[in-house]
């Protein structure tokens, strides 16, 4: 028996006829040539979120971002003019990687007045301009103005820093209406961060698949709930409150009455004691901007709303939670069957020990779930690779997966067609 209403079309999926309803082929997650095509068609041409403005609060603050899928490493830095810029992390003299510490492949952050190459000490200012050449007189007609760092398009939306190696359109146009609906959310107040990283042995899309549906939740995570509660959830199954596609992006809105629960005996003793759990601390932080929420958050304006997950194409997910915090996922491909996964949980800085402990419980709980979510991936990758089964029936609650794989297919095809 359905608990939440579906659109007139009869299903979420059929509301978007271009998606079709037939089984989906997963060759796109195992073919090395396809991955190469994705790199060209997607990762070198779309806006990629590489972080937040809080990571570069003042002039001279910088961090590096390894973009294996685009074949580069970038330096993101705030200039004295307050502008945040991105540069390829490569010295114009002879190609040495400019900014790194102990290991060239490791991301770093810091503050500086200028960037100095470790090799022959060429220096660049915070706007990328070449300012010093060692033994300049030994060079032949070298004009320093011709050898600044190679800049990459960089723009900011709601404090999120995006880069694009070959922009086809501006950031706001690319992010479109779905992102517009989130504007005004108090992201800037949520500056206490828990960061998680793992290398995952699967195609990047498989982990997005795992986080873009909650059909799995009552099953895979059933041991997380009390026995009685788990049986109830399994009986209900999962139904979203709402789905929206704004190609290439998409979102799912989900219920979640656990913060606080109607009946405290539904939750674990530590949750009762700390008034917190998976959905976040039960007591909302005292900041402006959470009530009312921007129109794009809980778009169905449902009373049982718990969390929204936004899939910002290609590899950035943004989850806003009813109790007033958010988290991000990033999936950075390094090979057809490998990616670096990063999650960040963002909270309004705790003012009291009680608030901090409530956040700690949410962070610990998040990891317990994510470990279960991540575990299925490597085995899936291995089995897909066998190609004994190639096509998979996706249900209506898996519409975002169907959409993601279609968008990837469209980008790859469009790019290939254009090259002909």
């Amino acid at each position: 028996m359905p608990h939440f209403s579906k659109p007139e079309a009869g299903s979420w999926t059929e509301q978007y006829p271009e998606l079709g309803t037939s089984p989906v082929n997963y060759e796109d997650s195992i073919d090395p040539a396809y991955y190469e095509a994705e790199r060209e068609a997607i990762f070198k041409r779309t806006w990629l979120n590489v972080g937040r403005v809080e990571q570069v609060p003042k002039p001279g603050h910088y961090f590096t971002k390894e973009l294996a899928a685009a074949g580069t490493s970038l330096i993101i830095v705030r200039g004295r003019d307050q502008q945040v810029r991105a540069f390829h992390n490569v010295c114009r003299h002879r190609g040495n990687k400019l900014v790194w510490n102990d290991f060239p492949g490791e991301e770093v952050k810091g503050t500086c007045r200028q960037f100095t190459c470790k090799y022959h000490a060429w220096r660049y200012d915070l706007t990328g301009k070449l300012t010093f050449v060692q033994q300049e007189g030994e060079f032949f007609d070298l004009d320093k103005d011709d050898y600044g760092l190679k800049e990459v398009a960089c723009d900011i939306w709601e404090g999120f820093v995006f880069v694009n190696l070959d922009p086809q359109q501006g950031l706001r146009e690319y992010l479109g209406d779905m992102a517009k609906g989130l504007e005004g959310y108090p992201f800037h107040e949520m500056t206490d961060v828990f960061t998680y990283k793992a290398e995952v042995g699967s195609n990047w899309k498989l982990f997005i698949d795992a986080f873009a549906e909650f059909y799995h939740a009552p099953v895979l995570h059933q041991k997380q709930a009390t026995k009685e509660e788990a049986e109830k959830l399994l009986g209900y199954g999962f139904e979203a409150l709402h789905y929206e596609l704004h190609s290439p992006h998409s979102m799912i809105s989900s219920w979640g009455g656990m913060a606080p629960p109607k009946d405290p005996s539904m939750v674990k003793p530590i949750e009762r004691e700390l008034r917190s759990g998976l959905f976040g601390p039960w007591d909302r932080p005292d900041i402006a901007g959470l009530d009312p929420l921007p129109a794009g958050v809980n778009p169905a304006r449902h009373r049982s709303w718990g969390t929204d997950s936004f899939v910002l194409f290609p590899n950035f997910m943004l989850l806003l939670w009813a109790p007033g915090w958010y988290l991000t996922y990033h999936y950075w491909p390094t090979a057809v069957d490998k990616h670096l996964f990063e999650a960040n949980l963002y909270f309004v800085p705790a003012k009291t020990a009680r608030e901090r402990l409530a956040q700690e419980l949410t962070a610990v709980t998040f990891k317990e779930y994510a470990l279960q979510d991540g575990n299925t991936l490597e085995a899936t990758q291995t089995m897909l690779k066998g190609r004994y089964v190639t096509d998979f029936p996706l249900n209506d609650q898996e519409i975002l997966l169907r959409h993601l794989h279609k968008v990837v297919r469209d980008y790859v095809k469009e790019h290939a067609d254009a090259a002909e």
């Binding site: 041991k223 530590i270 004691e273 800085p349 020990a353 608030e355 956040q359 610990v364 990891k367 575990n375």
Partner: protein, 106 residues
């Protein structure tokens, strides 16, 4: 190491660990009996500890209070093995791992 009102938790001071990484590693390396003993001792004091800690500014906890806070972080860490899993590791998590590389400092 702990505020004097919480002396009964001194036997568990090896759970005073400054990072999630250390707390998670200790959880995986501990037996259930040890974690149960720690949980049984610490859980009943959680509310009192929180009330005590809230009389100090969070960004400037004296050393014993900071230790108490970290001990309570460990209590949160072992709550999953004790209250839910009945084992140190998350079930159905196979070889998956997820490292915390940054967390708000106390």
């Amino acid at each position: 190491m702990l505020p004097s009102d919480f002396a009964e938790l001194e036997p568990y001071s090896d759970w005073i660990l400054g990072s999630e990484r250390e707390r998670y590693a200790k959880r995986l390396a501990s037996g259930m009996a040890d974690m149960q003993a720690f949980y049984d001792a610490a859980f009943p004091l959680l509310d009192r500890a929180t009330t005590h800690l809230d009389t100090f500014p969070l960004d400037d906890l004296p050393e014993p209070e900071r230790n108490l806070m970290l001990l309570m972080f460990s209590l949160v860490m072992v709550s999953f093995p004790i209250e839910v899993w009945k084992q140190p590791r998350v079930p159905d998590s196979g070889a998956a791992y997820l490292d915390v590389i940054a967390e708000p400092q106390v």
